[in-house]
């Protein structure tokens, strides 16, 4: 009797789960619903409000009034994208990070700790994070409010937001952009994230010109190089404050050298000068980073309230990834990316406790686990045996045999028994906007076919060892077919998958030897092309920004078919075609044509088993129940991580649930920026 009832419950819940997007009760869909203007615009509003703590500082006379702090046409974030509407001021966001903060000079390639910190303080020309909200994915305006191509497509004129100020009150204008361009990106002595070579189109270096204080102009060597937009976003073109760093540049100040330039603002030198919604105000290395709202933030909501809503952000430093999960469960942290299928069960169980403080939701399939086979005959080939193996891998029949030997359903089931994982056949994860099920060629589990194919290739068990042997006319004649798979021990899911695949391949006669090593060692060997098989986790569902993961667009990509020393590489015909397509995509302005291009790449990739996909996982997000305005179907990573996808400045906590703040006395006013090394 009880069995019957629980079966009904199971069916109902199962239907809810299978319905696609979220586990939460909220069924609204934000994905692909909006145009750019429906997300935000730049306009003046009749009146503005500010957080009470800032109002108090204005009354004291240490901050200018809000109208003077905001730009003439601030960005107005529309209520459309706010899941719970206009927010309330106050509260804290508690998070965790696990990489040391290297300093505040982000344009010089230093990280502030990742895990969302970088995204909370840096601002770039355009923004890609919220692109998932758009009907047609296209870069969103950020510091650049709008732009226009010239008729011949070789010039791009961009207008910048007018009257915005850095957190110390200094104005932001085209000088900062030019400084970032000339002294960081172009200067070969500065290890900026994207360097000059990324801006070369048709062998012509791009030029950037300042037209006036709020207008800049790019001159390209080829018409409509739309890929350039992806170099104008987060990290690649996060704008640096000229007034802070200019005194440190060796070409401006002879007493300085590049080391001092790069380390001009070390981690303990707080508060730094930022354009983002929060300003770091206290940092204890190895312990915690505390941020408070930026009084000069240049964005408002539709009612004129200056963003952000949250007063403070605390990032606790940890050394282990599981710390963030445990913090979320124990209600001392506010979010976690739930990506490891192994913990889905216990996190879910914790979320269902009656007094649980957090909710979890799962988005579309966004992570794929695949097998790489080294297809290069030029790199990392030292012996005849190596060459023989590479040529074997390049033979399509062998790749098909491998694909047929793998029981993907079993692998997905072992990773997680429910519908959050499923078999995957390569290309892009199925949650990707560029995925099209009809174009995927599948070679599913059929071990007899695998054995047939191996026999066709001349491999038979002539020694009775249980493994097939190399044919007579090969350098390894008569020996067992041994293949080595290297996996990094820090990627537990990869290790587990290798353990599962090993017996599957053994069953068809291939002696797969799994070597688990330190992650950095595996990475080195892959760089040197010195490997046979490896497991790879595909983290990105967007091929346009990560061409190198999917095709031979550069010498060092893809990882499993790199060019040899001197640049030689023997691409197979379908690879040639993929490269051609990718090169086209970089200069193709029409989004629909782009989609067609990547559809064809998908077709070629899966048809030819460029990689062997095994299973894919839905990305999950855990959030503390206090948090409001996070869209129920926000992907935890699509064009950027969650922080930039919401985007985070619209998040708020209702007043009755807010935590006490502790750093409001450190809100940076003029005196916090006096007597600093770079202050004039």
């Amino acid at each position: 009797m009880r069995m019957w009832k629980s079966a009904v419950v199971a069916v109902v819940l199962g239907a809810l789960l299978f319905s696609g997007a979220a586990m939460a009760e909220d069924e609204r869909v934000f994905f692909g619903q909006f145009t750019k203007d429906q997300i935000w615009t730049y306009e003046a509003l009749p009146s503005y409000n500010e957080a009470p703590e800032l109002a108090a500082l204005v009354d004291e006379g240490v901050l200018p009034p809000v109208e003077e702090r905001l730009p003439a046409y601030p960005r107005v974030v529309k209520t459309n994208i706010m899941a719970d509407g206009i927010g309330e001021y106050g509260g804290v966001w508690r998070d965790t990070f696990a990489v040391p903060n290297e300093g505040w000079n982000w344009a010089a390639g230093l990280t502030q700790g990742w895990f969302g910190i970088n995204q909370m303080i840096q601002e770039a020309l355009i923004m890609t994070g919220p692109m998932w909200l758009l009907e047609t994915p296209d870069p969103l305006p950020n510091l650049a409010t709008d732009w226009e191509w010239s008729d011949d497509g070789r010039t791009l004129t961009m207008n910048l937001v007018q009257g915005a100020k850095w957190s110390d009150g200094e104005p932001f204008d085209a000088d900062d952009v030019m400084f970032t361009w000339e002294r960081f990106i172009l200067d070969p002595n500065v290890p900026s994230w994207a360097d000059a070579s990324a801006w070369v189109y048709d062998d012509v270096m791009t030029e950037l010109e300042k037209v006036d204080d709020y207008t800049i102009r790019f001159h390209f060597g080829t018409p409509y190089p739309v890929a350039a937009f992806y170099n104008m976003g987060y990290s690649d073109f996060s704008v640096a404050p000229k007034h802070v760093y200019e005194p440190f540049h060796p070409e401006v100040n002879e007493e300085m050298d590049y080391d001092e330039f790069i380390n001009a603002t070390p981690a303990h030198d707080v508060p730094p000068v930022v354009l983002g919604p929060w300003v770091p105000v206290q940092y204890e290395a190895g312990q915690q980073l505390a941020m408070v709202r930026n009084p000069y933030y240049w964005q408002v909501d539709e009612e004129g309230n200056q963003l952000p809503y949250l007063n403070e952000v605390w990032f606790t430093e940890a050394s282990d990834g599981e710390a963030r999960t445990m913090n979320m469960v124990a209600n001392t942290g506010d979010r976690d990316n739930i990506e490891n299928p192994a913990v889905f069960g216990i996190v879910n169980r914790a979320a269902q406790e009656p007094d649980a403080h957090f909710d979890i939701s799962f988005g579309p399939f966004g992570i794929g686990y695949q097998m790489f086979m080294n297809l290069s005959v030029n790199l990392g080939v030292e012996t005849d045996a190596d060459l023989a193996k590479r040529e074997l891998f390049r033979d399509f029949r062998f790749r098909e045999a491998i694909s047929r030997a793998i029981d993907r359903d079993a692998a997905a089931d072992i990773a997680f028994p429910g519908p959050l994982t499923q078999a995957w056949y390569g290309g892009y994860p199925t949650g990707s906007a560029f995925h099209d099920d009809d174009l995927v060629t599948r070679y599913p589990f059929e071990p007899e076919r695998a054995e047939e194919l191996l026999a066709e290739l001349g491999f038979e068990d002539t020694t009775g060892s249980g493994f097939v042997n190399w044919p007579e006319d090969t350098p390894l004649a008569g020996e067992d077919l041994i293949i080595e798979m290297i996996v990094g021990e820090d990627a537990a899911a990869n290790v587990e998958l290798a353990e599962i695949i090993q017996p599957m391949l053994r069953r068809v006669g291939i002696d797969l030897r799994v070597r688990v090593m330190a992650g950095t060692v595996v990475s080195s060997r892959i760089d040197a092309g010195n490997f046979e098989f490896t497991m790879n986790r595909l983290d990105t569902a967007v091929p346009t920004t990560h061409l190198g993961n999917f095709g031979p667009i550069f010498d060092t990509s893809p990882a499993f078919h790199q060019a040899g020393p001197g640049g030689e590489r023997e691409l197979m015909p379908f690879e040639e075609r993929i490269r051609e397509l990718m090169q086209k995509s970089r200069v193709e302005p029409d989004a629909e044509v782009q989609m067609d291009i990547f559809h064809e790449v998908l077709e070629l990739s899966t048809e030819n088993l460029y990689t062997i996909g095994v299973y894919e996982v839905r990305r999950g997000l855990g959030l503390n129940k206090r948090i409001r305005n996070v869209q129920p179907d926000v992907p935890s990573y699509m064009y950027n991580w969650t922080i930039n996808s919401i985007p985070v400045q619209i998040v708020y906590v209702p007043q009755d649930l807010q935590h006490e703040t502790r750093f409001q006395h450190l809100i940076p006013t003029a005196e916090f920026y006096e007597n600093r090394l770079w202050h004039q």
């Binding site: 990742w114 994230w193 360097d195 070390p266 981690a267 505390a290 940890a318 445990m326 469960v329």
Partner: protein, 331 residues
């Protein structure tokens, strides 16, 4: 005794040099270097594609001096230590090695010192009880408890404890403070918060040490209690208490003293995995990640520190032994 001390120190110097060179080699032995870590991070955190990450890592090579020959790097590093007390630069933290270590040293000494003190005191006391009540129920329970502590890897115990606290008690785990107190000024509340976190590492790390000291103390004391001079002391009419503490324990405690010589290096690198799991701001995790990421000056400096402390610890233990036991002579 003074000449003995001088001789020990003189022997120590070439040994430390040898160890430092060997350590440097071993750290750099695995393929790749710090930039390999950077490259991985660029891909996983910055969302760079592989080719971008590779190119960027290459650009940083000169900045880190990783394009120079190995022996030159070592010579520069040792030269810096000897002439300027400069232990080099940590790539990961982007600051001098001495800063990185110094910041963590305070907590390391506190936690390890506390663990050690607790494990010695409790271990010795239980050991004495065990030996004097040989094979009683109490002794057997203590034995089972001791071996429980010795058979469970402490990182495993740490994880179980963290899980129970986080998932079932809803308590903040890991680190030494709850997020609201980390950067707060010192006060009673913060102190209480510290205690609420501190007991976990002390229990986890101290457990094995307590068990070990207990077993050793028990074994040795049982021996000593059977010796003739103890019988003599009893026959002389001394109280049982005095017999045990003044005579027997003083002899039995020797190996515990010798063991303390080993404790000092343990203070710095001890219980790495448990410290990582427990998120302690100590030197252990820092050392481990320095090795994994091949942050070579940081790792090399740690190894040097451990070596120096170990030599000093052995020296101290030897002196303590001579002081406690008048029969011991080193020449």
């Amino acid at each position: 005794m003074l000449s003995y001390l001088i001789r020990r120190i003189l022997y120590a110097i070439p040994m430390l040099l040898l160890v430092s060179f060997f350590s440097f080699i071993v750290i750099n032995l695995p393929p790749g270097d710090y930039l390999t870590t950077v490259q991985q991070q660029l891909q996983s955190q910055a969302g760079m594609s592989r080719d971008q990450a590779v190119a960027m890592a290459e650009r940083m090579r000169a900045r880190y001096g990783l394009d120079q020959p190995f022996v030159l790097q070592y010579a520069n590093w040792i030269g810096g230590i000897v002439t300027r007390g400069d232990f080099g630069y940590s790539f990961q933290h982007n600051r001098p090695v001495s800063e990185v270590i110094w910041v963590r040293l305070g907590w390391t000494l506190l936690i390890a010192g506390l663990c050690h003190a607790v494990s010695v005191i409790i271990g010795v006391l239980i050991g004495i009880f065990s030996a004097t009540h040989k094979y009683s129920i109490g002794d057997n329970i203590a034995t089972v408890f001791a071996f429980l502590g010795l058979s469970i890897p402490n990182f495993f115990f740490a994880l179980v404890l963290m899980y129970l606290l986080a998932f079932h008690a809803g308590v903040h785990v890991g680190g030494l403070f709850s997020p609201e107190y980390v950067l707060a000024p010192w006060g009673w509340d913060k102190f209480v918060d510290l205690l609420k976190h501190l007991w976990v590492p002390v229990v986890v790390v101290g457990l094995a040490g307590t068990a070990q000291n207990m077993r050793i103390m028990r074994g040795n004391l049982m021996d000593v209690l059977n010796r003739q001079y103890v019988e003599t002391a009893r026959a002389k009419g001394l109280s049982e208490r005095k017999v045990i503490y003044k005579h027997a324990v003083r002899n039995a405690i020797q190996p515990v003293i010798m063991y303390m010589g080993m404790a000092l290096p343990f203070l710095i690198q001890g219980e790495i995995i448990a410290s990582i799991i427990l998120n302690l701001p100590t030197t252990g995790p820092s050392f481990y990640y320095a090795l994994v990421n091949q942050d070579m000056y940081l790792a090399g400096s740690f190894l040097m520190m451990i070596a120096v402390v170990l030599v000093a610890g052995n020296l101290l233990a030897d002196f303590a032994l001579a002081w406690l036991d008048p029969r011991v002579r080193y020449d």
